[in-house]
């Protein structure tokens, strides 16, 4: 039903430019971990200025998709474009908010210092962050409601506060595309509200926000665009059109809202993704 959005592969040659209004464009992306395909032949065009969710069961390759967009994992095949250009040409337009658990929060540094790290690349080699960078960090911290914790050691933060620190570090980069891996994972209600309001502000400023999301209930409220992923792309498009029971069943294998390890109901169509269901990704 979403053939128009999902598949127009094999007709494009590599010289054809993707739609220029796509903030992120993925073409024929396949990623394998050892012998297992984690992403299989994914085509995805995310229009500019949307707040987009990537949803799918555990092991669907959501994090891997984000990491391949950012050149953090090697892909078997595929082409990725940001506003029509490869990632390395558009680095400064792209900010990344990794999963909170991906770093050691006992690292000896402060909230303001972590946020300042977002300015390093703009500074270049050998130069130290100064007054301008510190001000930028404080502005970002104010936006996430953390300015009063600027000098706090990062190990003293709650999960929600850690998430907001990471968000602030992305904000100082003043990017046009924001890529976030489960920013709502294990945060308190206040933080969740702060984050979603912030993401909507970013969209209001014409930026594109791409979020790996777990909570299916909130998808229609939070997002205007969604991609359902389960190794293959099941469907992608505006939430109203694409976020249907039918597509959710296709993505989650018959148990809507359940991203677990039970056997998916194996349909008559020898679902090629069922063998990856429930695989826990690192």
């Amino acid at each position: 039903m979403n053939d128009d959005v999902v598949k127009n592969r094999h007709t494009e040659t590599s010289t054809v430019h993707p739609a220029t209004d796509a903030a992120v464009s993925v073409h024929d992306l396949t990623v394998a971990y050892r012998e297992q395909p984690v992403l299989w032949d994914v085509d995805l065009d995310i229009p500019s200025g949307v707040l987009a969710a990537i949803v799918g069961p555990n092991g669907a390759g959501k994090t891997t998709l984000l990491k391949s967009l950012l050149d953090l994992v090697p892909s078997v095949s595929g082409r990725i474009r940001f506003h029509g250009e490869p990632f390395r040409a558009r680095r400064r337009d792209v900010a990344y908010v990794p999963q909170r658990g991906s770093v050691d929060w006992d690292f000896p540094t402060t909230v303001a210092d972590v946020v300042t790290m977002g300015t390093y690349r703009r500074l270049g080699w050998l130069r130290r962050p100064g007054h301008t960078e510190h001000e930028a960090a404080m502005t970002a911290l104010r936006r996430v409601g953390m300015a009063d914790l600027a000098t706090r050691q990062i190990s003293e933060l709650s999960g929600g506060q850690q998430q907001r620190v990471f968000l602030a570090r992305a904000l100082v980069q003043d990017a046009s595309v924001y890529i976030m891996d489960e920013p709502f994972q294990g945060v308190d209600a206040t933080t969740e509200r702060t984050i979603i309001e912030l993401l909507k502000e970013l969209r209001g400023e014409g930026r594109t926000v791409l979020v790996v999301h777990h909570d299916l209930q909130t998808v229609p409220d939070y997002f205007d665009w969604v991609a359902l992923l389960n190794v293959r792309l099941v469907a992608a498009g505006p939430v109203r059109e694409v976020f249907t029971q039918e597509n959710l069943r296709l993505a989650y294998g018959g148990r809507v809202g359940f991203a677990g390890t039970k056997e998916p109901t194996s349909g008559p169509d020898k679902d090629p993704t069922s063998s990856y269901m429930g695989r826990i990704r690192p």
């Binding site: 050149d71 000896p108 540094t109 962050p129 570090r169």
Partner: protein
């Protein structure tokens, strides 16, 4: 104690030894912080053990026992050891601890074998190579100290130049990669600095004990501060003081070898820090927990 301090200044040999061990303590303390924070504490151990075959090979190839020659050999095989660890650990089915243990024992074993073979030679020209096992600080002369200072100084300078890059790499390597930093190159550079710290200390402390001088001052410093910059400076100070103290102790009490004395001094600093640091120390944490329990109990009684 004051007598020992006086000796440190007046006795030429002891002054050299103390200056040398202080320099190596400072350099390894500062550079060891990054190994500790990146959870690569054992990499220093693998590198220092991997240095042994390099020392013997350097002598076999050149016939020279000049410190710079032997130390260059040590640096080369130490670096090869580190490269072998990362090459093995990149294979997904070999974990990093396995790779470390493998490299450490294989390189060290090869070094011991070479050492045994050359010691079986009829002439005595190889004599002294085995001092690199446990170090021989007493043999340090002024020129050695100056060389150690220069080499270690360059390493610390490189650390300062790429400070923010190394900090970002250590805290969040993915973020560094996304920002466009050459993460692999920076990683190699940091490993190279670790190799430099190891070879600076080999002569005085030896391949077996060197890694504890990378780890103990850094682990001790971490207990006292929550800032990376202060931690590195503090680790350098703790390392330098351990070096000087170890040299003084072994100078005062002949028969106590300098290298082990230095290592014990650094370890003592670590134990004291672990127990008594105000925020992270075990004692203060226990006291705080007890105070909290008392408070909760009394609140419970009141209700």
């Amino acid at each position: 104690m004051s007598e020992a301090l006086q000796l440190l200044w007046t006795d030429y040999t002891l002054r050299n030894v103390a200056a040398g061990t202080a320099v190596l303590g400072a350099v390894s303390g500062a550079l060891g912080c990054f190994a500790v924070l990146r959870r690569r504490s054992l990499l220093g151990d693998a590198v220092s053990h991997a240095a042994l075959p390099g020392i013997v090979l350097a002598w076999l190839l050149t016939g020279s026992k000049a410190a710079p020659v032997l130390v260059a050999g040590a640096g080369i095989t130490g670096w090869l050891g580190a490269a072998a660890v990362s090459a093995l650990a990149r294979r997904e089915r070999i974990r990093e601890d396995t790779a470390l243990a493998l490299v450490l024992s294989v390189f060290f074993g090869a070094g011991l074998m070479l050492l045994t073979v050359v010691q079986g030679r009829p002439d005595a020209s190889q004599a002294g190579l085995d001092t690199f096992l446990f170090g021989q600080a007493a043999a340090l002369v002024e020129r050695d100290v100056l060389t150690m200072g220069a080499v270690g100084g360059v390493a610390v300078l490189v650390l300062a130049l790429f400070w923010k890059e190394f900090k970002l790499l250590s805290f969040d390597a993915d973020a560094a990669a996304v920002a466009g930093y050459p993460v692999k190159l920076l990683d190699h550079l940091l490993t190279l600095l670790l190799v430099v710290a190891v070879v600076v200390g080999l002569q005085a402390v030896g391949v077996v004990l060197m890694s504890s001088l990378l780890i103990a001052p850094a682990a001790a410093a971490r207990q006292w501060t929550n800032r990376l910059g202060r931690m590195v400076v503090l680790a350098a100070v703790i390392g330098a003081m351990s070096g000087a103290l170890g040299a003084a102790v072994s100078g005062l009490a002949p028969g106590i070898p300098t290298g082990p004395a230095v290592v014990l001094a650094a370890t003592a600093a670590f134990v004291v820090s672990l127990l008594f640091s105000p925020s992270r120390g075990l004692v203060s944490r226990r006291l705080r927990a007890a105070a909290r329990d008392r408070r909760l109990r009394s609140e419970g009684d009141a209700s």
